[in-house]
Symmetry: C2
Subunit: 378 residues, 2 copies
């Protein structure tokens, strides 16, 4: 059948182009703060990796054995016992691999709503039908999942249970247990996307869904704790499924960059990533606090927002019939940006919502950006 795929480009990535003027203070992209990258440590790791000629050669699809062992040990130490992972070209690739392996032509995918829009794109591209599961201030609502499973029989549930994108919300341990039970009872695959879990600024860790459910495919990434430019993620799944995913990855790109993988293994061996993450937590926590503190004077009365314990995002809803996409145009005239919320919805968008990232800008820039935003919103 002749076709040319029709899928829209990501509004966030298109927006990033608009906000790249240096005078814009952008709260739009989910970008790590570049000044906090450990550039010297990373450069030294590449230099070390590139002492070995074999890093320029083809490599196993599964990934660099040292890196797999290091990542598995790190996950195990954090409370998720892990014997092996598949290294992916960022965790975005992991999503596509899972969709290719598990979603047939008439597949149904349940997603918390709102959700990460590049996941929506990825599932839409396979032709899957997307069904939304309600979320509240504690994240996905298990009772809603139960009705969706009964009515729609989805093949897969996708969620970001910890510091969600776009809401910043975290699913409680009892809700996780209930989701694990629903997954087991209905042979439902659960994709637990966890790029932000280590970026906790207060409270204590909630065990990952994968630690209580063997129906869970757990996705991790260096992008938020290391450097997104290296495009390194990993995927933990039951052994049978992992083998299938390796074959799917073989067709997707043979393997992830041998150089980047070896550099990451060298970095993890010779540097203290935990100390680096601790530094990120301190800095990002201060930025989170600065943004939340500025909100009452920035947004109109009646606006609500999430109060995230970690991650990168605050999710807001303006009162009445506000349209955040219209307001964004005005905001750009004032050299400040955010992401309108509509594109994070699988079905009926709430146009009064929007997402703000607090990690990319310094506390000072956040202050200035919020002052600009107040002129638009109030």
């Amino acid at each position: 059948m002749h076709r040319t795929l029709s899928v829209a480009s990501s509004p966030v990535r298109d927006l990033l182009a608009l906000t790249s003027r240096p005078e814009v203070i952008s709260f739009a992209g989910g970008l790590p703060a570049p000044e906090l990258f450990d550039l010297d440590g990373v450069r030294a790791a590449y230099d070390l990796a590139l002492r070995d000629r074999s890093v320029l050669q083809y490599a196993p699809t599964e990934g660099n054995p040292d890196l797999r062992a290091l990542v598995s040990a790190r996950l195990t130490d954090s409370g998720l016992p892990t014997s092996d992972v598949l290294i992916t070209t960022g965790s975005q690739q992991a999503l596509t691999l899972v969709a290719t392996a598990l979603l047939g032509p008439d597949a149904v995918v349940a997603v918390e709503e709102p959700t990460y829009l590049a996941a929506l794109q990825c599932f839409q591209m396979t032709g899957a039908r997307i069904v939304p599961v309600a979320s509240d201030s504690d994240g996905l609502v298990p009772a809603s999942l139960r009705s969706v499973v009964a009515a729609e029989k989805p093949d897969l549930l996708y969620l970001v249970p910890t510091f969600a994108n776009p809401t910043g919300r975290t699913l409680s341990a009892p809700c996780r247990a209930e989701i694990a039970e629903i997954a087991a009872a209905n042979s439902l695959w659960v994709v637990e996307d966890d790029p932000y879990g280590e970026l906790r600024y207060r409270g204590s860790a909630v065990p990952p869904l994968a630690s209580i459910s063997d129906r869970t495919i757990y996705l991790g990434s260096f992008s938020k704790v290391g450097a997104p430019g290296m495009r390194l993620g990993w995927l933990r799944a039951p052994a049978d499924l992992l083998r299938t995913l390796v074959i799917v990855k073989q067709a997707a790109d043979l393997h992830t960059s041998t150089v980047d993988q070896a550099a990451a293994a060298a970095y993890l061996t010779h540097n203290d990533l935990d100390a680096h993450v601790a530094r990120l937590r301190t800095e990002y926590g201060a930025r989170r606090d600065a943004m939340i503190a500025a909100l009452p004077a920035t947004v109109p009365p009646g606006t609500t927002w999430s109060d995230p314990d970690g991650g990168m995002f605050v999710w807001l809803r303006l009162p009445g019939d506000a349209d955040s996409a219209v307001l964004l145009k005005e905001a750009l005239l004032h050299d400040v940006a955010f992401v309108p919320g509509a594109s994070f919805f699988a079905t009926t968008p709430d146009h009064a919502t929007f997402r703000m990232s607090f990690t990319t800008n310094t506390v000072e820039e956040i202050g200035e950006g919020m002052a600009r935003l107040a002129k638009v919103l109030r």
Copy 2:
């Protein structure tokens, strides 16, 4: 619909595992010679790229602008006028992007037979039906393509017109013109996979199909002239299709490693890739000659083989009802390996065929490997 994808792993990649014992002289994998990698030049390029903090950040899906300009200029200089390319995570990814963008649920893909098996895998994974087009010692036979197009109405033709994998054959300019004419008359997309084109050891270049057909998607790669570990390829296509492929890539992995791309741009800026390729040509040409010269004393009378002008592979056919998969087991007992030909066929395999790569081993190793192989084959 519940499913778990069932696609076989690549026999070549599985075989590479068997042949990784250091005592084995392997003619199996299509691996560049590691001792010819410009390790120092590449390490210096990474070090230079990593002076700039922005190489650790997210980046545009299209690819690093400098690298796109450098690759486009290089293609233009080589006789293929190119205004832009999409940078891909190796050209294997380009195949998957093209399949996702162009192949609907009942798609039909025509391939020269035999052909590159990871391309077969990739098209099979989309659920496409594969139809073979006959090839002879000059590559794909246009008359066969004409009948296949009339009977099967394929959406896409995949071929490696220059120094093909697995045969080493090169399609003549008149045959290319005929294929371009068939593609234009039938709205057929043509994927011209050209990883080996620069590795010519004799004769003169044949213009790429893409230079005479605007129905052509041209795939190039650093893997054979630079380093496969960097996983860098590029894709040249008509502007409309290129835009669609960018969106598909966004879902596939957001973008290719910012670090690897910046290092490649630095390498191309500060090194003479043409001089490096010239060195590869000299070395690989000598290896080709050594393998071809040894063949008469290695294979049984009645064996036929291709006589490639470039690339990495010789394709052989044993006389009678020989089964090269059975002979491989015996060969491994003598610490030498090749790839049985069956898996390069989309439909009916010819079990008497096999592929030998002449690039990975030195002339001395080729001599020793061929002597071991003679014990098995003669």
